[in-house]
């Protein structure tokens, strides 16, 4: 992929790494918006953020219907918080330690001239390389899946705002498929062109494929990113944290946002 004169290269940017202690689902939702806006405004250098989860969650896409996607009673029974993110795509079932989630916040120039299909695969090239280095044969399955011979590993979503792009991914490290199927409503229509019966069978978590600790896989992803693009340690600034807290109060924590599509 080449040619667009407005395109920047990974190496043109001073990449920052944020890998903080576990945070609550609403904090993650808000931080994604804040950090995207900070990169768009030029106040923050392009950043890779590794998420650690402090609590279980269902994260639904911005266009998903709350009641169509989630069994509220089951989520409640398991103490699972349901939150809505700023990107499209499907619902994610999260339990701490069971998923590997990351975000990339970059100037849109990084994907200038690319179709969405190209941009999704491009942003995850480092992960496919890292998984390959760990012996996992994984590839990109358009529109937005990372997959392997055994099944789907993860899904990506992008959001664009003010000249910046957010690319975030959740990969299954381990999964309680029975619980997931109680909490998420995954209808027959969704699977109609997949040629398979069960949503649980679609997922092939990384733990089962490698036997490696979750931290080892994350460590390899960060290392691969650093070798390809450079990567300096960073942290969420006090101003960014304050902005995220405000967004939780005014947006992500409100029923108006959570039930934006009822």
């Amino acid at each position: 992929m080449s040619g667009d004169p407005k395109r920047s290269d990974w190496a043109d940017h001073d990449w920052q790494l944020i890998h903080d202690a576990p945070q609550m689902p609403l904090q993650h939702m808000a931080l994604d918006q804040v950090l995207l806006e900070e990169v768009a405004a030029g106040r923050r250098a392009p950043t890779l953020r590794i998420w650690e989860w402090a609590a279980p969650a269902v994260v639904i896409g911005i266009f998903q219907s709350l009641k169509n996607e989630v069994d509220a009673e089951a989520a409640n029974r398991y103490g699972i918080q349901v939150v809505r993110r700023i990107s499209g795509g499907g619902a994610m079932f999260i339990e701490p330690g069971n998923t590997i989630t990351y975000s990339i916040y970059a100037p849109e120039s990084l994907v200038a001239g690319m179709s969405f299909r190209e941009a999704y695969a491009y942003m995850d090239a480092f992960v496919l390389q890292a998984l390959g280095e760990l012996g996992i044969k994984a590839w990109y399955q358009p529109l937005n899946d990372i997959t392997s011979e055994g099944g789907k590993i993860g899904g990506a979503a992008q959001a664009r705002r003010g000249g910046a792009v957010l690319h975030h991914v959740t990969m299954a490290y381990d999964i309680d498929a029975a619980k997931m199927l109680q909490v998420l409503r995954i209808g027959r229509e969704k699977l109609s062109d997949k040629g398979i019966e069960s949503a649980a069978k679609r997922v092939d978590p990384l733990h089962g494929q490698t036997g490696l600790p979750r931290e080892t896989i994350i460590g390899r992803m960060v290392d691969t990113f650093r070798r390809r693009n450079g990567l300096s340690p960073s942290a969420v600034s006090p101003a960014e944290l304050a902005a995220a807290e405000r967004l939780i109060r005014e947006k992500f924590g409100t029923e108006a946002w959570r039930a934006k599509v009822p």
Partner: protein, 110 residues
């Protein structure tokens, strides 16, 4: 609340049109869902949803508004034309198509 008022409100409820629901998995794309009602032969309260991608996200409201008020028997071509006319050239769709929107609306009406 008097008995009279509650009987009035239940009468209003029974007059309100039932919700209709359609789902369509776009081949090679994402799931598109619609919930809507029909009032006096026209689409009302149209709410599209799904796991597709749209930029900017406000385009969803634009599509809902474009469909609302259309006669429910207009057919696929007119549904597509209404959505296409409402969406500006800068809207980007990924995993959802104008044709797919027309299909899911017709499924809800079927």
């Amino acid at each position: 609340m008097s008995i009279l008022v509650s009987s009035d409100s239940s009468q209003v409820q029974s007059q309100a049109a039932a919700w209709r629901h359609g789902e369509y998995k776009i081949p090679g794309g994402k799931l598109v869902v619609v919930d809507l009602r029909v009032a006096q032969g026209r689409l009302a309260d149209v709410q599209l949803s799904g796991d597709f991608f749209l930029e900017p996200p406000e385009a969803l409201d634009v599509i809902n508004a474009a469909l609302t008020g259309l006669p429910c028997d207009v057919g696929a071509a007119a549904l597509e034309a209404a959505v296409r006319a409402a969406l500006g050239p800068d809207v980007e769709m990924y995993g959802i198509t104008v044709e797919g929107v027309a299909v899911v609306v017709q499924r809800a009406l079927a």
